[in-house]
Symmetry: C2
Subunit: 514 residues, 2 copies
Amino acid sequence: MQKNSIAPDGREFVLPTKEESILEKEKINQITEQQRKLGRKIVAVQGLGFVGCVMAVVIADAEDKHGNPIYFVHGHQRASVRSYWKVPVINTGEPPVRSSDKEVPELFTRCIKEKKNFRATWHNYAYELADIVVVDIQLDATKPYFGEAEKGYCDLSAFRDGMRNLGRFIRPDCLILVETTVPPGTCERVVKPIIEEEFTKRGIDIKKNPPLIAHSYERVMPGANYVRSIRNFWRVYSGINEKSKTLAKEFLTDILDVENYPLTELENTNASELAKVMENSYRATNIALTLEWAKFAEKIGVNIFKVREAIRKRKGTHDNMLRPSLGVGGYCLTKDPVLANWSMKAIFDIDDTLDVAIRSVNINDTMPLHTIELIKSEYPELEDVKIAVLGISYLEDLGDTRHSPSYTLVRILNEQWAIVKAHDPYVLYWKEMENVKVHKKLKPTVHNADVIVFAVGHTEYKNIEPEDLINMCETKPLIIDCSNFISDEKIKKYLELGCKVKCVGKGHINSLVA
Amino acid sequence: MQKNSIAPDGREFVLPTKEESILEKEKINQITEQQRKLGRKIVAVQGLGFVGCVMAVVIADAEDKHGNPIYFVHGHQRASVRSYWKVPVINTGEPPVRSSDKEVPELFTRCIKEKKNFRATWHNYAYELADIVVVDIQLDATKPYFGEAEKGYCDLSAFRDGMRNLGRFIRPDCLILVETTVPPGTCERVVKPIIEEEFTKRGIDIKKNPPLIAHSYERVMPGANYVRSIRNFWRVYSGINEKSKTLAKEFLTDILDVENYPLTELENTNASELAKVMENSYRATNIALTLEWAKFAEKIGVNIFKVREAIRKRKGTHDNMLRPSLGVGGYCLTKDPVLANWSMKAIFDIDDTLDVAIRSVNINDTMPLHTIELIKSEYPELEDVKIAVLGISYLEDLGDTRHSPSYTLVRILNEQWAIVKAHDPYVLYWKEMENVKVHKKLKPTVHNADVIVFAVGHTEYKNIEPEDLINMCETKPLIIDCSNFISDEKIKKYLELGCKVKCVGKGHINSLVA
């Protein structure tokens, strides 16, 4: 039975047949030969996810001093039901991701339709022809027990398969540049042995042709600076030998703005891999601290957001202190400390723990429980309590729900038999929680609500006037503000309108009425 | 028996007699009257320690727009054997602290000798005359068990005595401005009830005359910017009522550079007290993270200092990441998280813990054990091993030994019967470890050493050439570098000279010889 791959907008694509595969190989060959004649080097990008697809166009968009493209890019995505749709969608000139950054669709149009030096394919043959493979496979950490990140692990099997696939096809002098955030040690202790094994099977002498493997991590930020956060930003890299380092440096110099954002070379790939997960752990720890202190502040009449402003006046040392909130989401801060901690034991056999980082993940992951406590202080029994959750993405004014703290919030509220309605202007459907409808209109979301949770700081929510919201409700709901989305003036209005208000990190609310 | 108070330079001062006390009171009265006639307000500074003595001259140095001093300052220090010497020393125009900041002695000379609007006294009568009392009493946290900061507490008894003393003497309209770093809740729940009790005993109606208590914390940094870190830096303040806030604001506006460093008012003294200990906890946590990751890096061939440089390229979010080292010392980061954590239970009766902050203190406090592990990797038995420790202060190019990690290092090495010699160019004698001589010359310190520990980054140590050091030793000692004080080039030289080298946070040393 033929299964179709369905794009988020509903378009269906039939998976390619064997006949199409033969034609695709010929096409790849033909295009590649043409491109080589134009003097272009051939890049294959493995994985067209959140980072890979934009990285691919950034590479394709790179030009030499005469304004000619330096590279031709084969974007490779396996022909799976879940992801195959990306190939035909990209080849029409559309990005497979939604973004508030206008440069994203511009780059896709330019490289696919005008420069014609980027093309998506599902065929492994692209790897045989590549001078450089950029690895952007997704790699996640698994945390099997809620709030016990110390038991988290990383299932490398799909990643290993991807590497084995490369080892079977790539030329011996092809550079493998791993961009995926990986547990420290992965390039040296996972990728290298696999490639060596596959090379040896193919009769390649790995002493004469040691695999060329480098690691460089992007620091992508979703939102309006999506492309710039890849191209115009500091990069760190290293390689498993001198040649890998040199090739990685040349490649990154071609495609990134290294004049304004000079590259940093580290001594080995362990260092580069560690740097990535350490910088995100640093961030996760900073947040965890504010979460703990926010709870303390609440109990002693203090507004932690004002305290934070005061502390952030210390430029250079304290001005990056983050905001307490419903919790921490997204793809990086929630998993990177786990990758590092798991790597210690699993990859290096070190009997130790990254205690501060792991505890921080636990505090961040379980933080939505605090918002539930705030609800329970008014509704000790959640059964049949009508709760409207405003915002399910993990970032303001973005539609990204990956590891969103709203997920934890809604999951637990549902488990306790509350009646939850979710709203988000940026999310089409909730991939991680498909049984929950994402409302687009506020009124039906909040009508008759007992509790309204301001979970995410979407501009739309920050702009709501208390009178308007209460008119939509036709009740006097408990208002929960998870991260200073409601000003003191609005809090006063809600109180005057007969609502109760509870805020994460704000202990001074009683003093507003006194 | 008359006991004398001895200054650090050896000068002895006889404690004042009852007769002198009567004369002193008269003198205070006379001076104060004169000063009032000049239109000056009267300030008493309680405690002439590290912050109080400099704060006193900053206040005295403040001028109105016509260039006239606004305040006369009585610096108050109890006539104890330990501290009385400060009174006569200050009154000769000398600062009671050593500092690399030239402005410190300049200010003392100017205010004591030229402006003559600052004078030290031991007599409580100064409080009776004051319009404002600035509280700079020392307040420490006690950590009874090494590495168990969660059991730390704050003994407030001396602080309470100080407050009671004020309550007995001050005028009802006198502002008490607490600058001491205190457990959150102290102004409202400790100071206020004591002052109210003493006022009531004196027949003052506390409904008509509610005590005026404010809190404002300095962010003093020892070193070349000592004075500027008090006067030209952001300040946070609050008060227990509106009048206290207003008076504190007026006072701080008079004495600080609020044009360039605007004041931040918080809603109550809990908030101001919390802000101080939170900002230092933030810092302590940042360091703890790097310490954990430094150990990881060492084991996987990574130089964490290069990783740190790479991460710090991310301006605004990661550029304040601190350096791993022997451990964390000084007066603030080692105790402030403990004050906060203790306050939760002891002052607010909250059954919770500031887990991230407290764990961080434990990691920081026990970090010297890691340096001992590095030594033990070469000398599993420390008995009779000759160890030279270079640097005993807690900061580079400063002579401050308070809570120095070298203390922990030397204490434990001594307990394990190593033969330790300590060296520091900036420390006259080791107050916290009086039985250990502080060498001033390198050669006798390192001669015949089995191990040399670069514990602190004094410039003198960073500049040592390997050949010169080894010539002084006449051995081939194990070199331990606690915080990137020795460059890769120098490490290579030490290795060539036949030494072994171990470095905190550097796992790449083997690759330097390969």
